[in-house]
Each structure stands twice: as C-alpha cells, then as structure tokens.
C-alpha cells in the first residue's frame, strides 16, 4: 500500500485538511502521509526518531513541503533531502504562502523541483505535477 504515496509536510491542520480534500476531489487517490513538521518529515524519510522501525526502501513519489514550520523549517528539510544519496533525486514541491520571491529563490537554490502557491487546489497541483513529469498521479484511477 505504500507504493506511489505522497508525503505532505505541513504543520497547519487546516491546510492539511484542505490539501487532502483538493487531492481527493480530483481523483488523486494515492496514499498521503502527513508529517506535521520538518523533524517528523526527516524522521519519516530516513527512518529515524519515531519512525525508526519504518522500512524506508520505498520513497514517496513526491514531497509536498511547507516552508514555515516549528522545530525544523522546510528549507532545512530540503537541504537534508538533497544532501543524502538516497533522497537526493526525490521530487520536492515547495508550498509557499504568498508571492515571496525570497522563499522561491531560496527553495530553488536548495534544489526544489517546483512550487505551489497555497491554497493547494487542483489546477495548481496539476501544473506542478505536469512540470515534474508525474502524470501518473493525475491520471490515477480508483483501485
């Protein structure tokens, strides 16, 4: 079941709910794992901390990464992802809240593949996914 899943790293429960709804509404039925902040995301990806017993052989297809989070922010998570052999090529889509050029530039510098302006709606998500060549996500049918 962990095949072709999405990792959503987002601390705001409202945003989590709205993002999940947007994905579901648009027939994207891949499993979505939610990490509530950067530390949790890193633990999940590398099988550390509270995920130390997790089998990390199957990486998520894409990481949707919020930037402003408590404990460890999105940019730091991105840095960790890009500096590890295992996760180096993981597609990361950064979620930004506004037209903050600084965030976008900083994210691209650190190796983000794309960004979506929040709120995540279908169109924005589809655009980003298309850009990444992950058509399978959008075309996915219910099992």
């Amino acid at each position: 079941m962990k095949n072709k899943h999405i990792l959503l790293v987002e601390d705001n429960p409202d945003d989590v709910k709205l993002t999940l709804r947007a994905l579901k509404k648009n027939n994207i039925l891949n499993e979505v794992i939610v990490a509530q902040d950067g530390v949790e995301a890193v633990d999940y990806l590398f099988g550390t901390g509270k995920f130390k017993d997790l089998d990390t052989t199957t990486m998520p297809q894409v990481v949707l990464l919020d930037l402003k989070m408590p404990r460890m922010d999105g940019l730091e998570v991105l840095q960790r992802i890009r500096s590890d052999e295992k996760t180096k090529l993981l597609p990361v889509v950064v979620l930004t809240t506004s037209n903050e050029d600084k965030d976008r530039v900083e994210s691209y510098k650190l190796g983000a593949n794309s960004y979506i302006r929040k709120p995540v709606d279908f169109n924005r998500f589809a655009e980003a996914v298309q850009q990444l060549g992950l058509y399978w996500l959008v075309l996915n049918e219910a099992p």
């Binding site: 705001n12 409202d14 945003d15 709205l18 509404k25 809240t97 506004s98 037209n99 903050e100 709120p119």
Partner: protein, 529 residues
C-alpha cells in the same frame, strides 16, 4: 619712479637748493627742504616722503645720523646720507641706521641719480617682499589647520597658532628643534610610533599623507586623533628647501563618523526587522484567511444541496472578502518592499511592454471591444520589473474605467514638455505631442522644460479633479466598489515606483470623458533607439 617725493635735509641753503635743482632736472617733482635735523623729522611726519637725502654734519642738537635714527624708528622711508666727511666713527654710526646709500660730497650728478634711483627701487622691492611675507604669515596664522614648516634638515622654522595649540609647544620654544620631538605621533590601534612624515618627504621628495588612526601626543601627554599631509617646499630649481606639514584635529569628525556608523547600523536593523515583520504578516495573517476561504469554498461545493440561495450567497461573500483581504496584504507587502532595494536599471521598451499588457487585457475579456493606440519605440532607462508594475497598473486602470464604454480607446505615448515649464497643475505649460495630435485634455507640463512626459489616456469614466490629490494615496478610491472594483493600492504603488526613478506623476480627468495619467522618469533624454 619719477613722481617720488623727496625730502632734502641740509643746513647749507645754497647746497640744498643746488641738490633740489639737480633732482628737479632729473625729472623728480621739486623736492622739499629742511634745514636742520629737527625740521627734517617734523617734515617727514607732515610730508611722508618716499626718500630722504640727509646731510650728516648739521648744527643743532640733532645731526643727520640722529635724525635718521628717529625717522627710522617711526617710518619706513629710505635714507641716503650726504656728507663731505667720511671718518670711521661717523660711518659706523651711520651704518647702524641702515641707510640706502652714502654719497660723498662733492658728487657727480650721475652718482646722485643712480644712488637715488637704486634706493627707491630697492625700497620698493623690499616693501613688496615684506608685504608678501606678512601676507603669507598672516594667512598661515589665520588658517584653521595646524601648520609646521621645517628647513631641509627637518628642523622647525615656523608654527602657526593652531599647531602651537595642538602640540602644546610655543613656536619660540620649538624653533630649530627636530620635528619628531614636537610632532610626536603613533598608531591609534597598535600604539606603535609612526614614521615622521617630514623625514620621508625629505628622503623621497614627494607629498605624503598619514595613515588612518594616527594620534598626536601633545607636549603634556594629551592624545589627539589627527589627519595630516606633508609636502616638500622646493625652490625654482626643484631642490628641497624644507617641508610643510599640515594637520588637523579629527576628534569631532571621528565622533561624527562613529555616530553615522551607528545610525547606519540602526537603519539596517530596522530594515531587517521590517523584513521579518512583513514576512511574518504575510505568513501568519494569510494562514487563517486561507482556511476561511478554503472551507467556505468546501461548504459551497460539498454541501450545495443543503444550502438555499441566501446561504450560498453568504458563503460566496465570505470567499470574496477573504480573497480581497489576501490580495490587500500582498499589495501592501509589495508596496513596502518597493522602498527597499536598489533599482536594477536597464533599457526598457515601454511600447513593447504596453503591447503585451494590452494583449493580456483583451484576452481577459474577449467580449469587450476596445482599441489600444500604442506609440512605437518608446525606450527608457529604468527597472524592468518595477516599470512593468507601473504599466500594468495604468493600463489595467484604463481598461477597467473604460469598461462601460461601447468604443473604448486607450492610448500610450510620449510628449515633449516645452520649456519654460509651469509647475502648477492645470495652468498653462503647453505640451507638444510627438505623435502630431494635440493632447485631448489640455496638456500640462509639470516636468522640467524639455523633459519627456509619458502618458496613458483613456476615454473612460474619469474622476472629479477635486479629489486628484487623493489619487496616489494608498487605499484611497474615487469610485464605489459597486461601480468599479479595486483595492486602492495600484496607483500608490505606481507613485512609489515613479518617485524611486526620480520622476513625477500626475493625472488629469473629466467626469464621464476620460483620464490621462502623465509621468516622467527623472531623465531628460530617453534611451537611444
């Protein structure tokens, strides 16, 4: 100097008149005669002659030498002694009075002529030299910087009062002393002695300045931060005759520099804080808005069958209001960011920019029939991204306010303001339209004479000129939301951008007829095509 006034002091009347006649023959104005030493002194006082011919042997209490002494102590007038006797005693007495000549009677006319001429000439030269010396020393004494001069060995020959004050040495005590003894300097940071600049000037023959952070240690031990330079004094042939050292107390300047540094640091901190503040606002304030908008939409979509028309309308209003607030936050942040950062100047083709924006506007409402008239090849120097905001706002406004016109017409062009300028809005100042069509709304040249003025003109709703001053203020709107929607930050942002470019912006309008917004970009010549 044939107009020189000469006084003859001679007790022998015949002799005196003879000399008088001879001098007159030589072309001098008829000289005056005094017949005794006493009379001579009195006449000098009254006549102020240019030269005195003084007989030495005269009867009375005052002989010629005594008279000369008196005159010399009070006046600067050259004296030539005339005498038949030239004994050693008289000569040595006479010498002390520093005469300009000495003629032994009987004398040749030629000898008299030469001696008088030479005396007058020498005196004139000496007087000029004295005056220029006085002028230079007064100048050196009066200037606000400290000045010390030395001879070619580096021994002090002159100090002005400022130098005396800073070093704590009086000139009379410092004369002929080594420079290093009086001008004792060291590095402020290392507290190591610094090489005396005077020695280097003598060695290298060039002007040298002091390194930063030099302090002078005054005679009484006081430390004064100074700034200085030393230059060689050279003779006509370029040989070094000495060195002049100029320095000043920079205590005040250092204090001011320190204060300036501090306030710059403060400004930076404030700017950083402001940036953090803006960032926080955009993130923290927009998160709840996102929830309000998102969940209202979700209700509309997921529970549509449970809501009646009024309920749906309410939800729609919530969505619209939160969207609007979110945009408002974005606009405010954009505007505040404009005041920070430098302009990235480049050649910008405003005509092409206007075409692209016009195309996008038409695409956004294909049902509207509107004509864009955009002048070709308007190129300027400016910041592309910022000017794009300007053009977008101005054209979008024109588009918006012509929304109710059947045949909307929006123009972009440039005109040359014609000197002399008239700085008052709405009064005079003709504009010459480069497109050969006179401006429709009675042009105004608010810019400097000969400046290029750009304009965006529409035949839309227009506004009441009564409120023209509110046009460029943030959140000021001249139309109700029902008539034309908007945030009221567009023109305020435009205003900031234009101001940042050093330009001006103003508008003219007539209710129901249209609006023209004029702007300049703070440059007298547009970019070359």
């Amino acid at each position: 100097m044939t107009d020189a006034k000469i006084l003859i002091v001679e007790d022998e009347a015949i002799e005196a008149m003879d000399i008088q006649q001879r001098l007159a023959d030589m072309g001098y104005p008829l000289p005056d005669i005094a017949h005794s030493g006493e009379e001579g002194v009195r006449k000098v006082e009254a006549l102020q002659p240019d030269l005195i011919l003084m007989d030495i042997m005269m009867p009375g209490k005052m002989d010629g030498v005594a008279a000369a002494e008196q005159i010399r102590s009070r006046f600067d007038i050259p004296i030539i002694f005339l005498t038949a006797y030239a004994d050693d005693n008289t000569l040595s007495r006479a010498k002390i009075t520093a005469p300009y000549g000495y003629i032994v009677k009987p004398f040749q006319e030629r000898e008299l002529h030469i001696t008088v001429d030479m005396a007058l000439y020498r005196h004139k030269m000496e007087k000029e030299l004295k005056e220029s010396k006085k002028w230079y020393s007064t100048t050196l004494r009066s200037i606000g910087d400290a000045v010390i001069a030395t001879d070619k060995k580096g021994l002090i020959t002159f100090m002005n009062p400022v130098a005396e004050g800073l070093t704590g040495w009086k000139m009379k005590n410092a004369l002929n002393k080594e420079m290093a003894e009086v001008f004792n300097i060291m590095n402020m940071d290392t507290r190591q002695a610094v090489e005396n600049p005077v020695l280097r000037v003598i060695r290298e023959g060039v002007t040298v300045g002091l390194a930063n952070h030099t302090i002078l240690i005054a005679r009484e031990g006081k430390e004064i931060p100074i700034d200085d330079s030393a230059a060689p004094i050279k003779d006509d042939k370029g040989n070094i005759m000495g060195v002049v050292l100029v320095f000043r107390d920079i205590t005040e300047r250092e204090k001011m520099e320190e204060a300036l540094k501090q306030s710059q640091a403060e400004v930076q901190t404030v700017n950083r804080d402001l940036e953090v503040y803006s960032y926080t606002i955009s993130h923290e304030l927009k998160a709840p808005l996102r929830s309000i908008e998102g969940f209202s939409k979700a209700i509309l979509e997921d529970y549509a069958n449970k809501l009646d028309a009024t309920g749906k309308d309410f939800c729609k209003r919530i969505v619209a209001a939160s969207k609007r607030m979110s945009q408002q936050i974005d606009s405010l942040l954009t505007m505040s960011r404009l005041t920070q950062g430098e302009l990235r100047e480049n050649t910008v083709n405003l005509s092409d920019m206007a075409e692209v924006i016009a195309y996008e506007l038409k695409k956004s409402q294909p049902e509207r029939s509107a004509e864009f008239v955009i002048a070709k090849k308007i190129k300027i120097h400016g910041d592309f991204d910022l000017l794009r905001i300007v053009m977008e706002n101005l054209l979008a406004n024109a588009w918006k306010f012509t929304g109710k016109r059947k045949a909307a017409k929006i123009e972009f062009g440039q005109i040359q303001s014609k000197p002399p300028l008239n700085p008052l809005l709405n009064q005079g100042g003709e504009l010459v339209d480069s497109e050969n069509s006179p401006p429709k709304l009675g042009g105004v040249a608010k810019g400097r004479g000969g400046e290029t003025v750009y304009f965006v003109r529409d035949n839309g709703a227009g506004f009441d000129m009564k409120y023209a001053d509110k046009l460029f203020m943030p959140f000021q709107r001249l139309h109700s939301e029902n008539e034309f929607s908007g945030l009221g930050v567009g023109l305020a942002t435009v205003y900031k951008i234009i101001t940042k470019h050093g330009g001006k912006i103003w508008a003219e309008s007539e209710m129901g007829k249209g609006t023209t917004v004029y702007f300049t970009l703070g440059q007298t010549t547009p970019a070359p095509p």
